[in-house]
């Protein structure tokens, strides 16, 4: 079985190549179905290959496909262990549903097949990232998903804002990638190899705590770029310029979790360092709270979800930073379910409202779009952490992990708890604004339920959002058992033992969720003037939140503008006069010398002869004079 693992990556890649060349010929719906089938095929294969893990029979294998650079331990090799298998199942499973959804969502789009080429390419790249058996191949996938993200954000390339957003994502990610790359170089300098096997098994004897901290923090920079953490999160909200399936697949469910995956994969390194883990956790908790407050005041339905994604990724960072890797990966999974569901639901609403994204112009949509409304409600409850839906179990495990670490982590636990309250508030606010109350539609908009290709994935994801959490409850730790082989080198942090502690902690977080949801329901399930007054009462704080703490302005003033100035100076003060001047000067020198020297070339053979004879006589004379 293991020798066929490469097909998991090759299937979507082959589909992408095929659609690139023949997509236009096979036409609109069929291209989409082919793309969906290829991803679903990968899912089926991955499910079959993961069976030994479910039965606890295998600890994972590494399959070498092609020796790339053996000297640095870089090969095209597939590391098939439970963590990789779980990531693969999430990517292909959720991915297939989103592909199916995109067939309906992108209906009538001129570059329909091109969109699926990119989506397939993305899935192949992401699978390369998670299935890599060494850091070199991982980095290859890491860059490829960045490229696909860029291509898909600026998919509607005629919109200037989409192009700007694509560029922004690319540049910000580059900053993170730079840190990551330096981290990889440090790893290579320390271990002389980049292969997982060579690194993790020897880490304990080779790696000093200082070096582990350096590597860990550099990996954190890369992870913060890809997973949109403070201070590199600014690209993600703008990335909502892309089509909604892209937001769901790349910027909620899969690509942005790559950072969490990398930290979980490098768990051994973080364990050796005394402070790298706590720093990761702190960054995560801060990001969670920061982004949640911004999400509170957003009017754009997709931007709420974008900031919510950043906030939830912060939770995952909190978990992996606290060495609760299973909790982090668990939340990664449940978040993939419900955030994909919420994004697809939002897409369905946007689709039905004729591309309206402002929530203040929605309202009362539950009658027009019943399926979307019900599935969105499930997603909202799931993310708000209300039992027994998926988000409750994973979020509660993260908070439990933070609580049991104690010390500084108690502060982070409180931050997480507050964030849970805010999360429930803004998600309920979104649901109420969109689906309840009186219609505030602009004239001429006739909301309608979306086609079946779009509602089917919604229903499937809603089902997963309900039951997904039951994989790993304090009463039945199936996921932890499943992932055990991947983390056997690490001492995992577990939530506090005992039913009493569980009831206490779960009760607190449920209470926070219910409080937030209830407050939002009471505030917003009223006429617009009343909740408008509520928001106005916050005054300038609310404005600050709605403008995202003006971080973009800050970056513009402190980083982008000086950078542009420097580039301008280099271009016009240095490049033009000095580089161009040198080049043009060389040309002018040659021309001047030529126009002076052309007089020598008279065309008179005898003049040339005279010069030649003079030279000959001079050489002979010199030889004889020297010899004499």
């Amino acid at each position: 079985m293991s020798q066929f693992l490469w097909i998991i990556i090759a299937l979507p890649l082959a589909s992408a190549v095929f659609l690139h060349f023949a997509g236009r010929r096979i036409g609109e719906p069929r291209a989409g179905y082919l793309a969906t089938l290829s991803v679903a095929g990968s899912f089926a294969l991955a499910l079959g290959a993961a069976l030994p893990f479910f039965q606890g029979e295998s600890h994972g294998v590494t399959v070498n496909i092609w020796e790339w650079m053996p000297a640095i331990g870089a090969a095209l090799e597939i590391n098939w262990d439970p963590l990789a298998a779980l990531m693969t199942l999430i990517i292909t499973g959720v991915g297939a549903l989103i592909h199916l959804y995109a067939i309906g969502y992108m209906h009538g789009e001129a570059r329909f097949t091109r969109f699926f080429v990119y989506l397939n390419l993305f899935v192949a790249s992401m699978l390369t990232l998670v299935l890599a058996g060494n850091f070199a191949m991982l980095f290859m996938g890491w860059e490829l998903v960045g490229l696909c993200s860029f291509l898909l954000i600026s998919f509607w390339s005629t919109r200037p804002s989409a192009n700007a957003a694509g560029k922004k994502a690319f540049v910000v990610n580059r900053i993170g990638d730079f840190g990551f790359l330096v981290g990889l170089m440090l790893i290579f300098a320390t271990f002389s190899t980049l292969s997982y096997a060579g690194i993790f098994e020897r880490a304990e004897e080779v790696l000093s705590p200082g070096m582990a901290t350096a590597i860990g923090l550099l990996i954190l920079i890369g992870a913060a770029g890809k997973s949109a953490q403070i201070p590199l999160y600014v690209w993600l909200p703008d990335a909502m310029e892309g089509p909604t399936p892209v937001s769901a697949l790349i910027h909620a469910a899969t690509m942005v979790t790559a950072g969490v995956y990398v930290i979980a994969r490098s768990a051994v390194i973080f364990e050796i360092s005394p402070i790298a883990g706590p720093i990761v956790a702190t960054v995560g908790a801060a990001t969670a709270l920061w982004a949640a407050t911004i999400a509170l005041a957003q009017k754009d339905i997709k931007r709420v979800l974008a900031y919510s994604t950043i906030s939830q990724l912060g939770y995952m960072f909190l978990a992996v930073g606290a060495a609760g890797h299973v909790a982090g990966v668990f939340h990664l999974m449940t978040h993939a379910f419900f955030k994909a569901l919420l994004f697809l639901g939002a897409g369905s609403v946007i689709h039905g409202m004729a591309d309206e994204q402002n929530m203040e112009k929605m309202g009362g949509l539950r009658k027009a779009m019943p399926i979307t409304a019900v599935t969105m409600l499930i997603g909202t409850i799931a993310i708000s952490g209300i039992p027994p839906l998926a988000g409750f179990w994973s979020k509660d495990e993260i908070l439990g992990v933070a609580f049991s670490r104690g010390g500084w982590f108690w502060v982070l636990w409180i931050v997480g708890l507050v964030t849970a309250l805010i999360t429930a508030f803004y998600m309920t606010r979104q649901f109420v604004l969109v689906f309840l109350g009186e219609p505030r539609w602009t004239e001429g908009v006739h909301p309608h339920e979306s086609p079946r290709t779009m509602t089917l994935p919604l229903i499937a994801l809603a089902g997963l959002s309900i039951v997904g959490g039951l994989l790993n409850t304090p009463f039945r730790t199936a996921l932890e058992h499943f992932l055990e082989p991947s983390f056997e080198l690490v001492a995992l942090t577990h939530p506090p033992e005992g039913l009493g502690m569980f009831v206490l902690l779960a009760g607190l977080s449920t209470l926070a969720g219910l409080a937030g949801a209830g407050a939002a329901f009471l505030t917003y399930n009223r006429p617009a003037e009343l909740w408008g007054r509520f928001e106005a009462a916050f005054g300038r704080t609310w404005t600050l939140w709605s403008e995202g703490y003006r971080v973009d302005d800050l970056y513009w003033a402190t980083l982008v503008k000086p950078g542009l100035r420097a580039a301008e100076a280099a271009a016009f003060r240095f490049d033009t006069p000095i580089i161009d001047g040198a080049v043009n000067g060389a040309g002018r020198l040659v021309r001047a010398a030529a126009s002076k020297g052309r007089g020598l070339q008279t065309g008179m053979v005898r003049s040339y002869g005279a010069l030649f004879a003079a030279g000959t006589v001079a050489v002979i004379g010199w030889i004889i004079w020297r010899g004499a």
């Binding site: 020297g597 052309r598 007089g599 020598l600 070339q601 008279t602 065309g603 008179m604 053979v605 005898r606 002869g609 005279a610 004879a613």
Partner: protein, 103 residues
Amino acid sequence: MSLVVTSGWYMTLAAVLFALGALGILIRRNALVMFMCIELMLNAVNLTFVAAGRALGNLDGQLAVFFVLVVAAAEVVVGLAIIVAIFRRRQSASVDELSELAG
């Protein structure tokens, strides 16, 4: 006095003849005369070969003359053909008029 004519005498004569030929090439502009001057220079070199061969006591000098002669003959044939071709086109054998390649 007993003046013995050594190889050096012949070589000196050859050097002077060579210089004369070179001078002719520089000051004459008739292509035919320039060609004759080249022949003069070649003959001077041949004389040197024979003299050197005698001084060294072997026949290689004379053999070299033979080959130079062949090359000179071939060169004369081609060179005169070129001169004729130019003359047919321009009605002149002056090399100074062939200066289209001036810079």
